[in-house]
Subunit: 324 residues, 5 copies
């Protein structure tokens, strides 16, 4: 189902739905309202149809079809195009999955083109339809609500990443060998997340400046500032994750060296303990004619006791020095 929803809003309330896209345009003009069309993974033909009806900017339509855009905002005459990057945290793989959402914004229409499950635009629509005062402010209100949803959905990503970092810290100081691979891979995810969220701050600034210029509705501006603030907090957290992971990598190098020191001490201790009896054995293996111990009745047990005794003494010494 390509067209997820197709509604015309007048004064913040949903009016009878148009039967098809062709009708939407007329209805919207007739009722002096605005249209909000939700598309899901449209093909070139389908997007083309909408584009013709609403006279969308061709370059923006191309971008929407091509996908893999960085988050951006672009003005084409009276219409605006936004590419946004919603994100989801996949806990099983410790991976951040990025979706893509394109928004065409005109004076009397807003078209949302979703390419992934997230963000949950049905919920955005429900929230707005329950708040006619906000929805009455037109397409920009929809844009605000969409941005708010996307940024809200970043929070679980941030929490997921933070949780992994906590686990990594535990692994790190417990000597888990796999931790450097995990740090590397999580760094990669954090960097991708930074790339996705960083431009959003500029986008919101652009939007806020545009609103300020047109002396637009104060509530919308305050709302956008709120979203902006949320974005900044997320960007800041992601930055601190990068630094923590960088530190963790450096600490790990040191810990690996320290582990080695400890192991070398342990191994050397055991080598000494094992070797001492050999020395005793070698001495009593000498072929001197006059070696009294060799003729003792208890020479052999004495030698064995000497071996064990020296070994045990060394063990005690190393234990006390913390080498074992």
């Amino acid at each position: 189902m390509v067209i997820v929803d197709n509604a015309v809003y007048v004064a913040g309330r949903r009016t009878a739905d148009p039967e098809n896209l062709d009708e939407t345009f007329e209805v919207m003009r007739a009722r002096a309202g605005f249209a909000w069309i939700g598309l899901y993974r449209p093909g070139p033909d389908e997007l083309d149809a909408v584009s013709k009806e609403f006279d969308l900017p061709p370059l923006a339509v191309e971008d929407a079809l091509a996908g893999h855009q960085r988050a951006k905002i672009e003005k084409y005459g009276s219409s605006t195009f936004l590419a946004l990057r919603p994100a989801r945290y996949i806990d099983a793989d410790e991976r951040v999955e990025f979706g893509e959402l394109h928004v065409f914004l005109g004076l009397d229409y807003v078209i949302t083109v979703r390419h992934a499950e997230s963000p949950d635009l049905a919920q955005v629509r429900k929230r707005l339809e329950n708040d006619p005062a906000l929805l009455a402010k037109g397409p920009l209100a929809v844009l605000y609500a969409v941005l708010d949803q996307i940024v809200d959905e970043y929070s679980p990503v941030i929490n997921g990443l933070e949780n992994d970092i906590d686990e990594i810290e535990d692994q790190l100081f417990n000597g888990d060998q796999e931790v450097s691979k995990r740090i590397y891979q999580l760094s990669r995810e954090v960097m991708a997340f930074q790339r996705a969220t960083h431009p959003l701050s500029d986008i919101l600034e652009t939007l806020r400046d545009a609103l300020a210029e047109h002396d637009a509705d104060t509530q919308l501006r305050d709302n956008l500032r709120d979203v902006h603030d949320h974005v900044l907090r997320i960007v800041e957290r992601a930055d601190s994750f990068r630094q923590l992971l960088q530190n963790a990598l450096m600490v790990h190098t040191t810990l690996v060296g320290q582990d080695q020191n400890n192991e070398i001490k342990k191994i050397s201790s055991w080598a000494a303990i094992l070797f001492t009896p050999t020395l005793v054995g070698t001495i009593y293996g000498m072929n001197f004619e006059y070696m009294p111990e060799l003729h003792w009745l208890l020479g052999y047990p004495f030698a064995l006791a000497l071996m064990l005794g020296l070994g045990f003494a060394l063990y005690k010494i190393f234990k006390r020095r913390g080498w074992l």
Copy 2:
């Protein structure tokens, strides 16, 4: 107790306290003074009541309820909202604990919403009530005093962190193995502290610009510059802590490698000392028919002396070369 204090000030002096919040508003208007209401962890209902009385901006109220804001300043029409991050140093855990303080500032009211023990607002109030000239400047004077208190309370944090860094340096050069973990964790605290204090500099700039624009009272502007200067000093110190800890981490990696070099030398020396007698023993364990020493009366003591002598000679040699 949610409402910690609720007073109306006229010309810098406290007048008879209103009986409840409803009355505050009237009293304040009647007496042409300003109200300062101090709240402590208010619930949604309580904050709602105040909000209605003073017509606080809803988004700001939401932020105050949600908490976990980054330090920020936001203007809503004639009222201003600040989120601030007081900090306390918990020496026992070497942790920085962050509180949260929200300030609603209007033309004739200031509402402080505290979520943690710090900062000590009672003391701020006392200080101001003892300085009617300053308090007479209205809500901005209160804001200044609150900021001053918060920034003053950062000093012990900075001192605590510096103290830890001094200890870390001692540990570092005394070969304490735990130091890398401690460096990592302290870096984390410093980074959190940087995140909390860094935005304060922008907030103070915004406030100073606003005051400069309105050609406001010079004393207040000088006071804010003073606080600003203090913040800059703290931010600078925190930055230098980060760099010192980063350096300490790098030095530690090197020291661990150096330790290993020293240990390998020591262990090898002892291995050689232990091994030489074995060589002697092996030689006199050979079964040649004609080995004069084997038939000496003092052959055995001679061999033992040779063993000890060689071992001791090696010990001396290694000692002189600094390997032991």
Copy 3:
């Protein structure tokens, strides 16, 4: 063949080709169109001829002859000179090969001087000749199309680099020793690519500003914004490659240390397993008069069994502790 193509366009359509360069200028003026001359590795004389005909700025001509310019845009009176750095990825050597393309842009001419196979300007010309509406916009349309082609040709470079990074990650965690050399060399390539692409963003900004100032054609401006956006994405990717490779280098240092730890454990285990029989042998090589085992009928097999048994027991112990 130095002159690859030499055409005069009027209203977006190719008119009868001039017979030689001398004629081009007259024809172009006569028909009120613009000339697009494509040169391939011209010598000083040939470039000089063109330069005289079109009054090209001498310093720019010098640059075009000297080569090895950084990407730049320079205005000389009414004419503009661009040095551009197309790139190709040579998969066999994991190397990025940089070409050089110089563009002289006047009000009624555009001269492209190519020094390498890439970019494929024949294709650019074909594309433009198939789009007369765009070509009718004059020399700037040609410049746009050339920039678009160059930036499009960066994409395979980015993909090639990303592919190498993926391979490097596999090598890294599979313990391939060659990986540090490869990381170093790929970093070098990425840095060269960054140097080549980075100035392009400024160039496009300069162009867009110039167009905005002259209130030029909206379509061209939107087109250039599109190219600009593409450049930004490429620059961003290249930046992230640098960071990933940097991280990979750090991780590699740690992994090398970890490998060593594991090997030392393994080697020490085998040393212990090998050494224990020697201890047994040494004991039964002692010359005590009273050593019952020496007289047992099965003393020798017993000793061998003891050797094997102890060795096997140690093997099991080390295996269980993960040292082997």
Copy 4:
């Protein structure tokens, strides 16, 4: 002695000194000159007295009393307050010692408050009194001379630090183990020096801007530019020290690893040389019935010769391979 000097200058020449501070103010007004009062570690009361006489800004006075300010410049109405950080290099400890100097600057007075031995203000006064043309320009001339002195006194610090870095480089490549501690500590000093000198560049810019605005005396402006230039050179040097020390730290890690490689080779070589005779001894310690060598008259010397020979051969081999 708190008041080091207390003079009134008219047209660049020192007039009869006032008897005490109370008189200074009157004398200065009477003679239409300006006062220059030099204080050394004044207590609160003493500073208070001066402050009352010259109406100094209270917040600045507080700062001057509290000390531990970062270098800064602050305007209070017609008077200006500067906190400056002179520095001295203590060669014995390889430490940079920071003083503190506060300057109150009015239209007709300049008050210098010194808290450490440096800078040598007596010399500044002498220099100025010998240059009446300069001194006639008033308090700003004094400020310039003070700044000049402070910045000149930074040069020996820079030289001291550079000298230490040269020594560190020698230590580094001579394998001195103490070098990492020294690098760490010198980095710390360099960072403190950067913190002290860095703000001076902004202070000089502020001063130069203020002078440019008031279209002030060209000579003073040129003089301040000269000081500014000197500060920039010092800041640049200090930055390069930081980078050199950072590099030295990295190189040291590598050198420590390299040392270890060399030692392991050396130790292994000696182990092999020592072990070979043991193998020979073990062979001739076997109890086979038919071993011809055992019955040779010169069997024993032959074995010893074999031992020595093999050891010497190995020694030669390792020597040639550069392991010894």
Copy 5:
């Protein structure tokens, strides 16, 4: 010879040379031309003489005498002072040698004060005298030509540094131990070169801005842009050298660790090969009454064969696993 050349140019052509400096000034005024005086390491007296004649700014003269300036441009009324840092690459020491060149620029004079062999100003003069059109533009044309020469002389430095980096890369991957020292020292040279060249970009910007403001000759502006572009390329290359050397340092640390891993494997292999015969010898050195092999006629050769066989088998095993 302090005065290298002393000429007056009118309309781009050299006129009869004045007999001495005193005359230069008059001649220059009389002929309405400009003077170009070339000095080489002048003493205070000589510079003083020139300074008096041309009324040079005293602070600039002081700087020219003191030397060790950073590259800078300073305007003093109608005259301008430049300190420039020419550089030469000394291949033998892999060192960059910095000279110093001071230029005093007035409306009708240019005085160049050289303190080192480079740059080759005689060549600059020859070039200009061969290009009267350029020289006719006056002192600024001389300045341009001097800057052009200095920047041209940076190219061999860049090439020398690049060549060293190529050699360092070879050393690095061939395991040359000296490479870390070389990297450190070359980094130091690169940093010094960056310090020398970096300010030149700002100087050229200042010059170009000044020319643009005065709507000066277009050719000179284009020429300076050309020099500026060259400087940018050099600065960019030097930056990339720094990064490459940094990377090389990191890679070296890893390679040293890897070398160690390989050596430990090799050494351990040989230890095992050497040790196995010892085990065999120890077994046949046991004193059991019933050991059939001891009584075999070929027992001894059998044991020797066993020793060699086991050693050879181990050698093969380690060889196959790549440890040898």
